[in-house]
């Protein structure tokens, strides 16, 4: 038995398909949803812990791959370096979970690590390299 924590990005076209159901049925794995999010007009996002026999988990991931689901391991820790962050706000349009969000009253950018799913979308768009990834 193995268990892996994964971040799955579903392309817009397949958001409404019963993919996970199918996966459980066909490959006999169990899963635990850590977080699910569908951002209208953007993508679907699922963070799962999948468990099963190593061979079955791998086949299940291959199945997802064939459907163009992007799979990333949830192994990183994302930190914002407060000395470098200028609170410009440009990262917030790329953050799928609003872990980075603008407080509209002050226009300051809040970072809520609890909402972060380590997708790293913010890392390269930050002009001051204020988002740091730790493994």
């Amino acid at each position: 038995m193995i268990s892996r924590r994964l971040v799955l990005h579903f392309p817009l076209a397949i958001i409404d398909k019963p993919i996970i159901c199918q996966m459980v049925k066909d490959y006999g794995i169990t899963f635990n949803i850590l977080k699910a999010n569908i951002i209208p007009n953007k993508e679907g996002l699922l963070i799962l812990e999948v468990s099963g026999k190593e061979k079955d988990v791998e086949s299940a991931l291959e199945y997802l791959n064939r459907l163009n689901v992007q799979i990333d391991p949830l192994a990183q820790d994302i930190k914002r370096n407060d000395e470098k962050c200028t609170h410009c706000g440009v990262c917030t349009v790329f953050c799928p979970t609003e872990a980075l969000a603008i407080d509209r009253a002050t226009m300051e950018v809040d970072y809520d690590a609890g909402k972060c799913i380590a997708c790293e979308a913010c890392v390269k768009v930050c002009p001051t390299q204020a988002i740091e990834v730790y493994f």
């Binding site: 410009c88 440009v90 349009v93 790329f94 768009v125």
Partner: protein, 404 residues
């Protein structure tokens, strides 16, 4: 009742000047009216903190022994411009290191460049200077490889030929399949996001739209130190469409600014990287507006909802220099985080930091209140409406008329 620069400066010296920020003046004018506000308030401070690519610094490193007339120089591997006297150079903020892969693997990271060199200099870090020369009788030396620190330089002054754009385009990507990487950030296809870059109601040149007070000699907050407006900026364009309140509805005026780099602080002058585009410098800049009369206080009371910016497609219209825009939007709408373009809701991303712009305005206010910062009376105002001063595109006259 009009005031003069001398009268306001006298009040500042005595610590009696009434100074408010461009945000605070809005309610004052609203509640008391422009006439009363103009009588009571002496100075309105503005601020902006955003990437400004036309920035760089002149450095004089002092003479080596034996002497060297630098022909080429690199600061932390970033090439400086050396077509000047022996040990003078200019480091431009968008220059990349010689070995940088640039956009060879697209989109490039541009993690270090001229803007970062300036930031490191200001932070007091040692910089590696490499230089080459061909050697002359008076300057025989041909090579140099040494550490350099800002405190050892003779002169180090920031000289930015174009800063503080008066309003700017809101950038979108109208293509349907391609993410694009621009100086206004990453733009997703199908109007995936709209990026903008102005402090709006706090922005210096939007608070003096017709340049009634800003000109050569205006003393400003620059990178945390004191600087000066020394000329109109490159691409200064006062003759653009304006609203009834005088506010430009397109990128309009710009300023050239200069200030002592040794006084500046790393938190107000930061190197920046735009993926797929290049590197630049984020500059903190603030201008005090003297409230000489009622007309001027009215300009400073401008609000975000009265400032309109054009929406521009950066997938085709901008790169191809097509004048077509996709409509207008005001800064209040932009700051809600969502705008509507052709019926579609589009999230907005700011590149200019509004919280830091506010801090610039507050820092400048405090310096003036404490009598540490006097207003500079311009010896000449910037070209304004009616001056005939415009910004032209390049007129190409191909040398070889070969088919491209």
């Amino acid at each position: 009742m009009a005031k003069t620069y001398a009268e306001i400066n006298e009040k500042i010296r005595k610590g009696k000047a009434v100074v408010v920020t461009a945000e605070e003046i809005i309610d004052i004018v609203d509640q008391k009216g422009a006439k009363k506000a103009a009588e009571e308030v002496d100075v309105v401070t503005t601020g902006t903190f955003g990437p400004m690519c036309s920035s760089g610094a002149f450095l004089n490193i002092g003479h080596t022994k034996p002497r060297l007339k630098i022909q080429k120089a690199w600061l932390n591997e970033v090439m400086a411009c050396c077509g000047l006297a022996a040990v003078d150079m200019y480091i431009g903020c968008t220059e990349s290191p010689v070995e940088d892969p640039l956009n060879k693997v697209f989109p490039g990271n541009f993690s270090y460049g001229g803007g970062h060199v300036i930031h490191d200099l200001v932070a007091g870090k040692d910089i590696r200077l490499q230089a080459e020369a061909y050697g002359t009788d008076c300057y025989p030396r041909k090579k140099l490889d040494s550490w350099l620190n800002i405190k050892d330089l003779n002169e180090a002054f920031l000289f930015n030929p174009r800063n503080a754009y008066q309003n700017y385009n809101v950038a979108v990507n109208a293509s349907n399949d391609r993410t694009i990487y621009t100086y206004l950030g990453v733009l997703r296809p199908n109007f995936g996001n709209a990026n903008y870059c102005s402090a709006g109601q706090l922005s210096p040149l939007l608070n003096d739209p017709l340049f009634k007070t800003i000109g050569i000699g205006t003393r400003i907050f620059l990178g945390g130190g004191t600087g000066y407006v020394v000329w109109q900026g490159t691409q200064h364009n006062p003759e653009v469409p304006r609203s009834e309140n005088g506010c430009v509805r397109m990128p309009g005026g710009t300023i050239s600014v200069l200030g002592d780099l040794k006084q500046m602080k790393p938190e107000w002058l930061m190197g920046a990287s735009f993926i797929g585009y290049g590197c630049t410098l984020i500059v903190g800049l603030g201008i005090p507006i003297p409230i000489l009369n009622e007309e001027i206080v009215r300009y400073t009371a401008i609000r975000d909802e009265e400032i309109y910016a054009p929406i521009m497609d950066y997938s085709i219209a901008y790169p191809q220099r097509e004048p077509k825009t996709l409509g207008e939007v005001n800064y209040k709408e932009l700051k809600t985080g969502k705008i509507t373009i052709n019926g579609k809701t589009v999230p907005t991303g700011p590149l200019s930091s509004y919280p830091k712009a506010r801090k610039v305005a507050l820092a400048l206010k405090e310096r003036i209140q404490k009598g540490k910062f006097l207003l500079g009376e311009p010896v000449q105002l910037l070209p304004s409406v009616g001056s005939g001063y415009t910004f032209k595109g390049f007129v190409e006259r191909p040398v070889n008329k070969v088919e491209q």
